[in-house]
Every structure is written in C-alpha cells, then in structure tokens.
Symmetry: C2
Subunit: 322 residues, 2 copies
C-alpha cells in the first residue's frame, strides 16, 4: 500500500511513467486502486473534460489530434483517453489511430492512453471516469475522451465529460436518423467533419433544424444552444472554431453554475455506481456464488436446473450468512 502513497505523490503530468502506472492500477481495479482514488479526490475538478463521439470513420482521432495541437499552442497540457471497448483482436485499428496522432505523441505535454478493457468490475463508464480522475489529479488541463463507435455504451462513456462533441460526416447517413441514438440530448456541440464532401450543407441544415425544434423553448430559458460547426480536420479547417466553441461552452458552464450542477450530479451517480460495485465485489468475495456455480454447473448444462434456480440458491446462501 505504501507504493500507492508514493504513486500518489509522484502523480504529475510530467511523470508519464507514474501516470501510466496509476491508470493501470485503476483500469485493472488492482489492490490499492480505491486508496489511490480516495487520495486524489481533493485534487479533482481542475481539468476540462471533453467527450468526442460519432460513428466509426467520422474522423474523431484526427479532430482530437488537431484540437490537442491547438491547446498545446495555448499552453495547456492535454490527455487523450481512447475508449475501445472491444476485444484485443482490434488492436490494429487502435494502432492506426495512434499513428494518426503521431504528430502530437512526441510532445511530453500530451498523454495518450487507449482503454481496450471491458472493465470487469463496474461498467466501462465508471472505469473511464476513474481514469479521467487520475489524469485530472495529475494536472492535465484538457482531457479528451474519445470513443471508437457511437452507441449506448459510448453515450455513457462520453457522458462523464463536461462538454460532449458529436462528430458526423456527410456520409454518416441521414442526419435525423443519427439523432435517434439519443445523442441530440447529450451533445453540446455538433461537428460536420469532412465538410468538403457533398451533403455537408444538407446535414448541417438538418441538424440545425432538428436542434431548433428540440431546443427552442429551452433556449428562451437561457439554456445552451448547441452550435453545429463545419470542419475538415485533416486539412486543419474548422478546428480553431471548434476549440473556441468548446471554450465558450466551458465558460457558459461556469458562469451559469451549470458546471457545479453537472459535476454534483456526476458525483452522486458515481457514488451509486461505486457502491453497486462494492456490493457485487462483496458478494463474489464471499465465495458463495462461485461455489454454487461450480456445484450446479452440470445440472444447468443438462437442463435439470435453470440459471434462475442457481441465482435463487445463491441468494438463499447469502441470506443464510446473516
């Protein structure tokens, strides 16, 4: 445990080895990870966390790399968490992303980490937030959480951010269809990337129309009105505007008190999730569940017992311990 204390004291953005070790500890829920998270708790809240999501091929990595370059020029340190909740077999694709981000990876003020783990304990969103907490405590000014795809898990993952950016391309299909995925409620900024391709203007108009419909009443009450930006990240176009829009959103969050509200809600959600994880962990640690599963495996396989019978037995055994 003393090594955890030492790790906490070394946790600074310019000690990338310590940052990496702390992230691995948290990612693997290795012994001492909760102690580390407790020890860094008072250091949280300095970083601005930006979630970047959108369909595969929308250019999220390129956009993230371009944003990182801009932020570095402004003097901010930047951490990127690329969340790929898929199997190790897709490692090649992630490597592709890393290569695309090469321009910024040689800069010691930029830290890039891929999370390919499914997060055995607690969901991926919980683990992602804890990794961001480590980076926040390490003093990174900007943290980007980038997802590989767009779906429910990805929505949950980017929901741990202060500002959520949805990246689309003219090719990513009918704009209104894309909005099906619940994104319109989660995204604070919309980017139509690869805007030199046909259909960009149409997607922009569709998005603006859909947002206008959805938010009109909200806007009247001083709500944030999500802008839709055109960009061509690989050519560096529209990236400065995106950076400015993120800064504007960050300012709005602070000036209206929304940042505190959002973070308060997040802390409450986090507490619930961490408690839930503790319950599960405790249940498995009793050994009763594993024991029952071993004893009943053959019966389940042979169809003599159902999974629900086994679950009921585990429950009875847990109750019996009271």
């Amino acid at each position: 445990m003393s090594s955890v204390i030492e790790l906490v004291s070394r946790l600074r953005h310019d000690d990338q080895a310590a940052v990496s070790r702390a992230i691995s500890l948290v990612e693997n829920a290795a012994p001492g990870f909760e102690q580390l998270l407790v020890a860094i708790h008072h250091r949280l809240g300095q970083a601005h966390r930006v979630g970047v999501t959108g369909p595969p091929g929308a250019g999220k990595s390129t956009l993230t790399a371009a944003l990182a370059t801009i932020w570095r020029a402004e003097g901010w340190t930047v951490a990127v968490v690329a969340v790929d909740p898929t199997s190790p077999l897709t490692g090649g694709a992630l490597l592709g992303d890393r290569i695309r981000m090469e321009g910024v990876t040689l800069d010691p003020g930029v830290f890039i980490r891929s999370m390919a783990t499914r997060g055995a304990l607690g969901g991926l969103a919980v683990t992602t937030r804890e990794v961001c907490d480590v980076l926040d405590a390490a003093g990174f000014d900007r943290i980007v959480i980038e997802t590989v795809g767009v779906g429910q898990s990805e929505l949950e993952v980017v929901s741990v951010a202060d500002t959520v950016v949805l990246v689309m391309t003219p090719e990513s299909g009918d704009g209104i269809q894309t909005l099906k995925s619940g994104l319109i409620e989660v995204a604070d900024l919309f980017v139509v990337n690869k805007a030199d391709r046909p259909g960009a203007e149409r997607l922009l108009k569709e998005l603006e129309f859909a947002l206008h419909l959805g938010r009109r009443s909200a806007e009247a009450e001083g709500e944030w009105s999500p802008p839709v930006l055109l960009a061509s990240a690989s050519a560096g176009e529209g990236v400065a505007e995106l950076g400015a829009a993120i800064a504007r959103h960050s300012g709005w969050l602070r000036s209206t008190g929304r940042l505190a509200i959002r973070r308060g809600r997040r802390l409450a959600a986090q507490t619930l999730e961490v408690v839930e994880r503790a319950i599960r962990q405790w249940g498995w640690d009793t050994g009763l569940a594993q024991h029952t599963l071993s004893e009943r495996r053959a019966d389940v396989e042979a169809g003599r017992l159902t999974p629900y019978d086994v679950a009921a037995e585990v429950r009875r055994r847990l109750e019996g311990k009271q």
Copy 2:
C-alpha cells in the same frame, strides 16, 4: 403467482396479449418474472435468433421487414425485438420504424416489440435475451433482434443471437474503419445495403479483403466464412439471398454442432449474469446500501467523504451482517 402460471399456459404466438404481458413482466423484472422464466425454460431452443445491427440509417428496419415478409411466405412465425436503449425522447424515431414495418404488422403471425428500457436490473443484453426466451417459448420460429445503433451495448445485445447480420451502406464510412468496432468477430453475415449508391462495390471489396485476411486460417479448419451480400432492401433486392444465407448459416451451425456449443456458452454466460444480478439485488434489498447512501450524501457533496469511503462503509456493514 398463480397468474404467472396462467400466463405461462397461455403463452403462444397466437395470443399476442399473453405474449405482451409476459414480455412486460420480464422487461420490468416485475414480481414473478423469474418464476415465468423458470417455467418456460424447457420450451427454449426452437426459434432461430437473428441479430441485426449496423449504424443508424443503414436500413435495418426495412431489411428486417423484408425478411419477415419472406419468412411469412415460407410459413414461419416471426417476432421482432427492436432494442433502443435510449431515452423516451427518441420515441418519435421508433414510431418511424414502426410505420416502416407497417406492411407486416397487420399480420397476426408477426409480433413486433420495441424495448426502450435501459434494464434497471442486469444489463440490456440480459433483458433482451430473456425477452427472446419468452418469444421462443411462445413458439415464434424466427426472432430478429434489431438494434438502433452500433456500439458496445449493441454488440452485446446482438451477441445473444444465433446468427448476427451486420448491415452497412456505402455511406457508412470507410469499411475498414467500421470493422474497428469488434464487429468482424461477431458478425456471421455482412450486408451492403443501398447497393445502388456509389461506393457499394468498393465497400464490398474492402469487406471481403478484410474478412479474407482475418479468417483465412480459420476457414481451413472448417470454420464459417462470412459472406458479404449486396442488397437494396427498400426495392426488395438481395433480401431473398439474405434469407438463404441465414438459412445456410443456421444449417452450418446445426450440422457442425456449433449451435449446441454457442447455446451452451450462452447458457453459462446467462447463469453468471443472472447470479450477478441476484447478488446486486440481494445487496440492495438488505437496505444497508440505501441507508448508508442517505446518511453520507451530505458528506460526499461537501467533499468530506469520497464515493469510495461510502462504498467501503457499505461493504463493512454487509460483512457485519455475517
């Protein structure tokens, strides 16, 4: 509870009211849902379950409706579970899907159900599989599980199927990028929909190349080699071929014994998930977690305690009950 027994006895595909009630019971984890699942357990395994996933706007609903029409003509009963794990605010989009499926909804041999719930207890994949179990027990011959988007949750959802179909369009972005999402390992069939649009041939070739690279050695060992099909679902083109490919995959699964292996693995995974859900449920039912959360809320909000301190306290209290 007697109503559950009655419900089980009424559970047949031609009693859609009973099917609906049973699904609601399971979806809401309402009292008696486990009893129902135990009672139908011996009736499972008759239906062929087909997962249909792909990015929003790929035409999954249109393709599913076209497949349903073909299957109906062959005399099979069909159930469709449309999984939209997003908020009620996106209900409009689901309604759009329902309208698109109108052609088949008047047919009593077709049952369509949208699952918009996030599945408070257990994950969405668990609940989806349980809903499919109800439909299977009710005697539907074909069950389609259709997702709204494509991402980690959606992958898990379609993984409960016997055959997984990935639908893409020439617009859904660079084919290789799409394969990032772990889909190449999960999908048994690939459909390039809207194949009349430019880029369809290129996407087909890219997919075939990627599959060839990934599966060459596997193929030599008698593995399934996932075909890539062209379709234009709205014009009805390529749908018969997809139906035939699904039948071929189903035959392959049976003749090689893979179906039993897949379903055995799924049963083991299901048992683990159901036990995990029971542990969590039991933990919350003790009231200790809720009690601790209430007592410590103000301390967490004020920063005097971290979520991990609260979790540790819950754990100590659970242990104290032993």
